[in-house]
């Protein structure tokens, strides 16, 4: 039975992570493992469409990667022998080297979980740039090829290729061992991994530009990685917290874009289009995260859950949302969190109080170009009857955004005030 390259790629997506992880355990070298895995994939892409997908593709890929390794090793030995001839003229000592690939472990399932964890901690090593961490994670754990990552990030294959080779050079240069971070570093390193996965999610979630089809796909890639992480680190509250947050946010993917591609605000979304399966999954993960003690992602997921379970904006438990933002402002403070808190407090206690909190952020340098600040102020000003000021603020918000859909939305809001 012949196979399409799409079918080969599908097998690859399933096997890539475990294959690279197992090879890295054997070679104790992430970069060598990744290279060998990619070589095996290239051979598969040539052979399988012709001969069909083997019955046990995982074993086939592993055997092929080991074959490539042995081959390279022998060539290196040959090169070494030539060098050795020169060396022998100066010294008579020399030892026959054995093939380290001869007795490698055949069993892919041995300690797979640990290998996968080592893999993700290496791909998300803080010494690498964030862009490289993202590319390396999607390539090794997600099993995406360079061209697929490039398509998802609306960039060129060459750019992604460079990020990956730069990352590999860095990893080789620092001589990193393929191991788990020491226990004392684990929370911080796990946090970095979660950050990479959430970045992938947000790249898909917040963008409304370019090829729309690939954007939800990127959210779903991040979701699968998040599910994988929660399975690998079931005792870590924030692995479940991030997963809950992503499942809950993804439940609104279909509802948050209108038929012409325009963004639809939470308040205007058709709740019937929210994905109830993802909401249920998100709530279950949130429950698990809270049982384990939570953290910033868990609190954000709890906020998302308030929205997901409310029948309407009016029905939302804004006091709880505001309280959760107050918690978040303490454990993970940021100007955006304070702004969101202002919105929630405004909804719970009235626009005057909301505006007061938003006004306190007016001089915040990191919000200087942030369209949501004037947009939030505009909403509260409008509710308080300061229509002229509200219109000016919506226009300011429109001027600050690069996103055409968002700009149109703010301008419409400004215009609707004029019609009052």
């Amino acid at each position: 039975m012949t196979a399409t390259s799409a079918a080969v790629e599908a097998v690859w997506r399933i096997e890539s992570g475990r294959l690279v992880a197992a090879l890295a355990r054997i070679t104790e070298d992430f970069v060598a493992a990744e290279d060998l895995a990619q070589d095996a994939l290239e051979i598969a892409l040539k052979q399988w469409p012709r001969d069909g997908i083997p019955d046990h593709p995982a074993s086939w890929l592993m055997a092929t990667a080991k074959h490539v390794a042995a081959d390279q090793y022998r060539r290196q030995v040959n090169l070494n022998r030539k060098l050795a001839i020169i060396a022998r003229q100066q010294s008579t000592t020399g030892s026959a080297e054995s093939d380290p690939m001869a007795d490698v472990d055949e069993n892919l399932d041995v300690a797979v979980q640990d290998d996968l964890l080592r893999l993700i901690f290496t791909a998300c090593h803080p010494i690498l740039s964030i862009d490289s961490q993202v590319a390396l994670t999607l390539r090794t754990l997600g099993g995406l090829q360079t061209k697929e990552i490039a398509r998802a990030f609306l960039t060129s294959e060459a750019t992604i290729g460079q990020r990956i080779s730069r990352a590999k050079r860095t990893l080789t240069g620092m001589g990193l061992r393929f191991e788990l971070p020491p226990a004392e570093d684990l929370p911080a390193r796990l946090n970095a991994v979660l950050g990479v996965v959430y970045l992938v999610f947000n790249e898909g979630y917040s963008a409304t530009s370019g090829d729309h089809w690939t954007r939800p796909a990127l959210c779903q890639d991040a979701l699968r990685l998040g599910r994988m992480l929660a399975a690998l680190q079931p005792e870590q509250p924030e692995a479940h917290g991030l997963l809950a947050l992503m499942e809950l946010q993804a439940s609104r993917l279909a509802a948050r874009t209108g038929t012409a591609g325009e963004p639809v605000l939470l308040a205007d979304q058709d709740h019937r289009r929210w994905d109830q399966l993802l909401i249920r999954r998100g709530l279950a993960s949130l429950h698990r995260a809270e049982e384990l003690g939570g953290g910033p992602y868990t609190v954000q997921a709890a906020i998302a859950a308030c929205h997901a379970t409310a029948k309407s904006v009016e029905d939302t438990d804004w006091r709880r949302v505001a309280a959760l933002y107050t918690v978040l402002a303490h454990i993970a403070p940021s100007p955006v969190v304070h702004l969101n808190r202002a919105v929630a407090v405004g909804m719970a206690e009235g626009p005057e109080r909301g505006l007061q909190l938003a006004d306190q952020l007016q001089d915040e340098p990191s919000l200087a170009g942030y369209p949501q600040l004037p947009a939030v102020r505009a909403t509260f000003l409008q509710q308080l009857g300061h229509l002229e000021q509200a219109r000016a603020e919506f226009e300011r918000a429109a001027a600050r955004t690069d996103n055409a859909g968002e700009r149109r939305l703010y301008l419409e809001q400004a215009q609707s005030i004029g019609q009052v």
Partner: protein, 130 residues
């Protein structure tokens, strides 16, 4: 994207499925769950435990199973994967277990795409960043 996989048996041996098959199916399910792709799966009772409600020529009828004229549905699975080929590959693995561990069993699985956000996405180049 999501795929619903419906497994039907066309020929079932008289011997019951072996514990090895059940263990292998469970292990494959765990694999797919850990990979973040398997959202839900359950086995189904024979149609003799179910009922079929029909609308024809304006008449509603309900008839208890078994549905003799159609193949028996065995199970369903809901996958969240990157492409149709991924769903097909997971299904291949499931059927291979039956081939290897339950000789004589024959069946077929329909791999059906579920509507998702990508189906409601507007055409590219509209509403995008200027």
């Amino acid at each position: 994207m999501r795929y619903l996989i419906l497994l039907k048996a066309t020929s079932t041996p008289t011997s019951p499925p072996s514990p090895e098959l059940m263990a292998a199916i469970a292990a494959l399910g765990e694999d797919a769950k850990s990979a973040g792709v398997l959202l839900d799966t359950q086995g189904l009772h024979p149609s003799s435990a179910g009922s079929r409600v029909r609308l024809a020529q304006g008449q509603l009828t309900a008839a208890d199973g078994p549905f003799t004229e159609s193949k028996e549905l065995i199970s369903y699975a809901l996958y969240d994967v990157r492409s149709k080929e991924d769903a097909v590959e997971w299904t291949n693995r499931f059927l291979k277990l039956h081939r290897d561990l339950w000789p004589g069993w024959e069946g077929e699985a329909d791999v059906l795409k579920v509507f998702g956000p990508e189906d409601f996405a507007p055409p590219a180049n509209e509403g995008g960043t200027a």
